[in-house]
Structures are given as C-alpha cells and as structure tokens.
Amino acid sequence: MIGNILLYLTIVLTIASIISISKRYLSKPLIIGQSIISVFMMGYMIWALVSDNFQIRYVFHHSEKALPWIYKISALWAGDSGSLILWSAIISIVLLFLVLKKKTDSKTMITVLIFQLFVLSSIVFTNPFAMSSKSFIDGQGLNLLLKNFWMLSHPPITFIAYSLMIVPFGLTLNFALSKNQSADSWRDQIKPWILATWLFLGVGIVFGAIWSYEVIGWGGYWGWDPVENATLIPWLFLSAALHSLPGNKNTRQNLRSTVGFTLASFVSIVLAVFITRSGILSDVSVHSFSGQPLSIILTILLILSVLASIFVCLKLKDKAEKTEEPPLLSKSFLIGAGNLVVLIFSAVVLVATFWPVITKLIGSNQVISTSFYSVILAPVGILLSAGIAFTPIFKWGKTEKDSLPKKLISPMLVGIIGIWLLYELGVFIPVVIILVFLSAFTLVSNVMQMKALGWKKWGSNIAHIGLSILIVGIVVSSNFQFIKQDILRINQKSEVIADRTLVLNSFSLVNDNGDYEASVSITDVNNNVTEAKLTGIMDKTGSWVVEPFIKRGIVSDVILAPGKPELGILMAPSLGESVDGNGYSLFLTSIDDKSVEVSLADEHDAWVLIFDRNNDDTTELLEPTENLVIYLEEVGKDYVRARITDMRPDVGNTVMLPITFSVKYLISFVWIGMILILIGILWALIMRNRKKETIELERIDA
C-alpha cells in the first residue's frame, strides 16, 4: 500500500516536473520532490526486505529470514522489479545533481525525466509491492550464486552507468535543437558524463567478469553471452565517442562521429536493457527472463531513442563545421581508423548476438558458437594494438618523418626482445607473436610519452598500456590452457595434468545435510605442494554449491573445482563368489527368504553381516563399525547389489570426488589490464582540465 502510494506519487511528480519545466514555473521544488520520493520508495522496499515483511510478494520471492542483512538489501536487485526501483532511485539522484547544479538546460532535464517516466511505468507493470493474501513465515531465499561480493556490487554499478548515460544523450539533443550553442561547449559538457559512464560501465563489466571467473559456472571470465555482449557494445561505443572528442577539438573534423558514437552509446544501453529484460534472447542466454509486459514499454523506449537519434543526425547538418582532412601520419588519423575498427567490431558482435533472432525470421534457427568471437578478436586485437602502439609517437597534426626513426628505435628493440622471449618459451603462434611485439612496443612508446607529459595527463597512457596487456592476456589465456576432469580417491595419486599430480588427502562430512570438507594436495614438477581446501554445501533446494579453489599467479592460475561427491562404492557379487574393488572384498555367502549373509573385508578387518529380510527397509542397512555402512540396494535370486560407504578417518576409502582441474596462463594479465584501463579512465576523469585542453594539445605538438 505505502509502496504503491510512493510509486504513484513519484509518477505524478515526474509528470508535473516535465510540465513545470516547459512552463518555467516551480520546476526546481517539483524535481527535488520527485527525487526524494523516489529514493523513499527504494528505502521502503529495503526496509520491507530487512524487516522480513514476507507479505510483500517481492520480499517473499527474493529474501529469507536467515539471510545476513547485507544480502537482504542486495535482494533489492535480485529480481526484475526490485532492480527497476533501484534504477529509478539512481536516476533521481542524477536529477537532483542536475537541478542543484543550476546550469543544466531544460531539454536535458526533460530527457532525463521522460526516461525516468519509462522506468517508473515499468515498475508499475512488474508490480513489486503486490501483497499476498496468505502470510508466509519465511521467504524463498536468495539465489546462492548471488551471495558473493562481486555479484553484490555488479548490478548497482551497472545501473549507475545506465543512469549517467541519459545525461550526455540529453545534452546532445539540446545541442542539436539549440541555435547558438557551439560544438566546443557541447563537447566540454558531455566529456565528464561520457568518462563517468565509461568508468562505471567498465567497473560493472570487470566485476561481472571476476564473479564469473570465481564462481566458474560460466567457464571463465567472459562467455560472449548476449547479456555480456549487451554491456560490451555500449562500452565500445563510449570508447569511440571519447576518442573522437580531442580529435575534434584540434582538427575541427569528426563532429558527426562524436555525435554518432554518443547517440549509439545511449541507444545500445537501451538495447542492453531490452535484451536483458524482454526475453527476446532467452533461448540462448544464461539468464532466463520473464518479461512480457516490459517488452512493450522497452520497445517503445527503444524506438523513441532511435527516432530521437535520427532527428539529431538530421539537425546536425546545419551544424557541420568545415572539415579538414587529417594527415596520414597523425594521431587524428589513427584514432579515426581505430574508431572504424571498433565500429565494425561492435556491429559484428551485435549481429552475432541477434543471430538467433535474425535466422529465426528467415526460418532456420541458427546460433553462433563462441569460437566465432575468438577468431574475430584476433584481427581486431592486432589492429587496435597497432593503433595504440603508434599513437604516442604521432602528433595530432602532421608528424615530421625525420623525427620518426629516433622515436621508433627503443619501442622496436623492446618489441623484438618480446619476440625473442617467446622464441625461448617455444611459442610460435603468429597472432601471439604479433601481439606480444605490439604490446611491448606500446609499453615503451607510452612510457616515453609519459616522461614528456605532465603526470596529470597520464590517464590515456595508463589505459592504453592496460589495453595492450589485456589483449595479450585474452589471447594467451584462451590459447594455452589445460583442462582435465578426473575422479579422486583418498590417498591415490591422480594422473599427471599439466605437470602436476593431485592427491585427495581427506574428505569428511560436516553435517547430516551432506555438506563436506575436503583437502587436496597439488604437487608440481619441482615437488612444491599446494594444499587446496574444498567445501561443498547442499542448499535449501537440495542442490550442490561448490566454490572452486583458485591459486593465482603472474604466469599461471591453478583452478580446482570439485563436483558432486560419490560417498560409497557399488559391489554386486553373485552367490558364492566375491568381488574386489578399492581395497575391499565382498563375498555373498547365502540368500534366502529370511536373510542375506555377506562377508566384507578390507586390508585390516573382516566382518560377517546378516541382513534380516522380514522387517522393513532399514534392516537392509548395517553398520558393522562406526562410519562404515553397507546398504543393500537390490537383492536378486542369486546376487546382491550393495553400496559400501566407508567414512572412517584415515582408513575409509570409498569416497570418490570428481574434480575439474585446470591450469590457465596469463589470466593475471587480463585482470592487470582491466584494472589499468579503469585507473586510466579514473585518472582522466579526475585530472580533466576543463578549458585549456585545446591549447595544451597544441603545445604537446609544438
């Protein structure tokens, strides 16, 4: 009830704000009011979650009493409608910031408010505050996979990025509509917003990647799932938009590409929301989506965004500045070429993501396998690496050819050292050789430029070094890895996997649920031993949740993921015969209507066991000694099928733990690269020199 009142009040205030802005009357208090109420609405839902108000259906579906309070709060974004509430609150905070900043123009405000209206109406459709007629004592709980720091922070961060992006879109609309705003002032306005969106979206992507790596369910740090692609595409467009900004300033060209990439970033973010919420790609994505009512709202939003973008492009004709072709050996040209690569790559990823939908329309259901992307990445990675390798060497304007040899020599030398290192390691894959050369080159050329620049301008260099490290990490880690599945038995050496052997040292049940603790030692060629502690937990629904053991290193990561353990072994002796296995011997002495007699022996002891067949099922289970259980699964005419579960400390030998053991190389480069890119963006955002940039760039060239 209270929730719905707050929801409808926010909607009314949002509409009132839009009207008041166009009437130029009372708009500020109305916008502040809508922001406060919208944040209150989120507060109300959080309070309902924390106070275990299971009468609200959303709380019942996504939370439970035993949940720690931090996860109760995070249940806000565990579901479709809850995450929309969070989103609208974040948009409200952006609105509050805009209205208090004063300078914001009315068209941008209206754009953000209209977007907010779409989010709010989506909330109405998903009806998060719906009450149950029944009262529940406890809720259904939170998905165990979401109980993880990275998953806790990934959605809010992504929503911040989605919310921030509405502002540069509004500013661009305003620029297209205004008669006297200069392109320079528009660029200065959008730059911090683009940088901030780029940063938050990047952090969101990285957190998602760390999560999927640690939880392994998705097999690595990136799976080319539609949902992942959907956030990658706007990030790529944002990169292109940002890179065409300084080029614009100096050579007065590319205004169209800056506008185009900014619009594309916004539209692709709307598209990302559409993909994750409408269910259009649910057949090929990890996520299952409900969606029906939302897809209508989202389709309208998507069409509106596209129409607005087309409108801006048409209006832009009047604003086109005199173009000046950049010289071939210049930063401007490299950036243009790089943006072209990014544009084509994004388009290809987009088509591949929608391939199932496209082919369905044609009439033959087809999907793209992920190997598609790893092949496409090679030429894209090489072209981009080459671009960032040479950017520090070229000037914005024309680069003098005479100055080149001096600047090229050290990067080339270090690049060649990189190739030699690969040769020593026995790596002869052309793509890897080219990329390592370019990466080493990038490192040196950027460090040389950093020495020449003031430290305040290091942002792009740091990000570029990060990108070249990331590309090497991606290519190497996906080309060199060992994955092997095996079944471990107590104290038995496994097969050799990637020069390592595994031994299951101990396995014990922690409680009656079947939760277990195990310890595995991993021995490498140099006899270095790593102890891996593994745990398995049976969750409420009776499913196993296991967390892999990961030993990170600069060169290689060792990952050990346990599976569902098999506690006992099956033995099926015929009458008068014995069966041997795992150090046990089972002999079937006699079978008649009243009893079954067997004898069981291991290396140390022997037991004669008589099963009474007259009573109920429980007599098919005998425990000759503590922690040793023998259970008759089937009694035939002249045979039995018995399960022996021996959990005795030190001597118990029936446990079989399936594991997946993998060694992956240079995963550390992936994380270092990603983190450097984010640090670079943050650096650029903080050190942003608002007005002097044009002059500065010219000074660098001089």
Partner: protein, 118 residues
C-alpha cells in the same frame, strides 16, 4: 594522400567484414529442441531439461518436452551450478552412443523469473 587514407580504411573494412562473414558461415549452428534432429550427426545446439539424478562426473542426460532422453557427455568443464539449473542448451555432435557436447549453457531459474506461488 586522400587516396591512401581511403585505401587503408577500405582494407580494414574488407578484412574485418570478410573474416566475420566467413566465421558466420562456419560457426552458425542449427538450434533445435527436436532430439531426432540432435541425433542426425550434424553439429547442433539442443535444448533440454536436465535430469538431475543422471549427473555423474561430466555425463548427464537431458529430457525433451516430449519426454525423450538424450545422454550427453560434456568435453569441457562442467559448471558448478548445474544442479541449480532447470534446463540447458548443449552444443555438439551425436556420436553413436551419446551426444558429445563441447559447450553447455545453463538456464538458472531464480535469476529474474519468479517461482509459482502457493
């Protein structure tokens, strides 16, 4: 000068577009829920419900909506959350005895979908 720039641009476009189209042709795989098609010997992507009792190591079975059973052997790492998934999509080829899958995509129920109440 202008010519060189256009040539470089054209080379980039032609290179990337060619590689992409070629890869689209190679890696496009039919998607089906029909197990007869899955057992045709062609490389397919097939959807089915996971028979949770059948999971042993990386062997398991999937069940179609008609109730047919398809035994699957996963060549890759089995995801740790397989038991939390309802259904999955596996990509691979039918060998004589089982479906040899090189990849699996799990569909987890509780992500955005709310379970039936009462």
């Amino acid at each position: 000068m202008k010519k060189t720039r256009i040539i470089i641009g054209a080379v980039i476009v032609v290179l990337l577009v060619t590689v992409s189209i070629w890869m689209f042709v190679i890696s496009s795989t039919p998607y089906t829920q029909d197990f007869n098609e899955a057992m045709s010997g062609k490389r397919v992507q097939v959807w089915g419900n996971i028979d949770k009792d059948s999971i042993i190591g990386n062997n398991f079975s999937i069940i179609s909506e008609k109730g047919e059973v398809l035994p699957v052997v996963l060549l890759n790492q089995i995801p740790s959350n397989i038991e939390q998934a309802d259904s999955c999509v596996v990509t691979g080829v039918w060998t004589d005895d089982f479906f040899e899958a090189e990849s699996i995509l799990l569909k987890c129920p509780s992500k955005y979908e709310e379970k039936v109440e009462e």
